[in-house]
Amino acid sequence: MSSEPLIQAVGLRKTFGDFTAVDGIDVEVAPGESFGFLGPNGAGKTSTMKIIGCTSPASGGTIRILGMDPATEASRIKARLGVVPQEDALDADLTVFENLLVYGRYFGLPRATVRARADELLEFAQLVDKRDEIVEKLSGGMKRRLTIARGLINTPQIVLLDEPTTGLDPQARHILWDRLFRLKREGVTLVLTTHYMDEAEQLCDRLVVMDKGRIVAEGSPRALIAEHASREVLELRFDVTDHAERAGDVAGIGRVEVLADRLLLYVENGDDALEAVTARGAHPMSSLVRRASLEDVFLRLTGRSLIE
């Protein structure tokens, strides 16, 4: 019973007039799982999230969330979801605490319950000393944490996070990731979208890579990297305007990707590969050996970078 998927979509589609935002995707999310939609802007991630959040009806296919149909039981599903939208949508004129109180009442929760829960969540979001501050005065990272706290006011089973750290500085991102880890450890199912590969690697047990409304790959971050990339990547920069000219110099050492400003060599051992490159008399301006990432997976699958 507990292994029943919390979210199950088959052939899910979303169209806006002639434009197809989501083009027949199949998704299953298990209880306690941390599941990600990775893809560039416009891949259909947000449209998919809105269907799961029951705020936008699917144009085709079937979807069940917590065993229910969004078309007929949207309110019941929403009562058990926590939603963290891309824009914070906080009430800027109200205090931090008031934001939580007002939002808790949307769920019809008793006042005393909401107050107690709000205090717990301030602790969780590390905003206790900002309790009576007007929201407008908070930093971007604090607003994001408050938005997450607000999304947890109804003790949801599934938390939907749309681009949770977009626009935050590195330190604020790490604080946020840490909070989300804690939620995950508590057994909350997380569903998130991101166009940051490091975020997907950090947070997701399993993810799908989306491009142009379709799923192009699915698996754990590690499995995806193993399947679609190599163990290591050698990055080479040459003193040329078009790196395609130098692709021939390194052919045969590993699979080559040509980017605007560098060459990528997908190899088992980066240092050995670099030796082989220099042995051929090719002298790059700079070189870098790193582990393969989801960025490489995306590049392999679509021929494009995640972040344009």
Binding site: S56, A79, P85, V102, Y106, G108
Partner: protein, 277 residues
């Protein structure tokens, strides 16, 4: 017995929702932060009209022991009309920028609809909030008018209630407009080409019988004409030349209800299609 109790508990747990009351609580929380400013600003304009038109112009009109309309001072005439006009302004005001803000700028409605709240809860909560705002502004205005001697008697209480209805007859169609309009430029059109002319030609400052016939037609379409007729009749009492019979009361009230209810129903539909897009 046990089964019933369980069903009730089950229902409460399965479908908890704050409903329109939670939406009202949101608007009231915001209003609590700004109410002082709104009382002053929403009273200044009508008080200026009351002083300038009612007392200033009134002293000219009511000279030599005659009054503009038999037995009714111009001040009393204008004050009872302004009560309805002020409700119109408040109703329109609360259905324009706050609604566009909730839809477009602050994503308030988006956040609300991520919870069990439904579109109709959002609209109902707003209707009740606007009604409270109308009660406050018309109530304060009536109190000031009473103190200035521009109105008197218990009929004023009925006039306030009727003014609130008139305010809703504007607020709901304008709410519908807010759900459809894409930018605040649309409000310039609304205020210059609809609200301002209605303010002038709906019998607030002079009876619409003074207007040319074609403008009288406009006057009778305007909900403000009907709201003004009602507030005037109620506040000035059965002895005044503006008194209405029961049938007239029902006609005017029915006409205002038509605008309010149609605006509400179409507003729910418009908001739903706007938020699902």
């Amino acid at each position: 017995m046990t089964a019933t109790a369980r069903t009730e508990v089950g229902t409460a747990v399965d479908r908890p929702s704050g409903g329109w009351r939670a939406v009202l609580a949101y608007w009231m929380a915001v209003y609590k932060r700004v109410w002082k400013g709104t009382i002053i600003s929403s009273l200044l304009a009508p008080l200026a009209y009351l002083a300038g038109m009612g007392i200033g112009l009134g002293s000219l009109i009511d000279s030599g022991g005659r009054t503009a309309v038999e037995g009714v001072s111009y001040l009393a005439f204008v004050a009872t009309g302004l009560l309805a006009a002020q409700a119109m302004q408040t109703g329109v005001g609360e259905a324009t920028f706050p609604v566009m803000g909730a839809i477009k700028w602050h994503h308030t409605y988006e956040a609300m609809l991520a919870t069990p709240l439904r579109v109709q809860d959002l609209v109902r909560g707003h209707v009740v909030y606007v009604s409270i705002r109308l009660a406050i502004t018309t109530g304060v205005f009536a109190a000031v008018a009473l103190a200035l001697g521009a109105m008197s008697g218990w009929g004023v209480l009925a006039a306030v209630v009727l003014a609130i209805l008139g305010g809703l007859a504007f607020a709901m169609p304008v709410y519908l407009y807010s759900c459809r309009v894409r930018s605040e430029q649309g409000y310039n059109v609304l205020s210059r080409f609809i609200i301002m002319p209605l303010f002038l030609f709906s019998g607030t400052f002079f009876p619409i019988s003074q207007l040319p016939a074609w403008l009288q037609v406009l006057g009778w379409i305007s909900p403000l004409t009907h709201a003004g007729a009602l507030t005037r009749a109620a506040a000035l009492g059965p002895a005044s030349p503006f008194a209405l019979g029961l049938g007239d009361y029902l006609l005017h009230i029915g006409y205002l209800l038509l605008w309010a209810v149609a605006g509400y129903l179409l507003g729910v539909r418009a908001l739903r299609s706007r938020m699902e897009a």
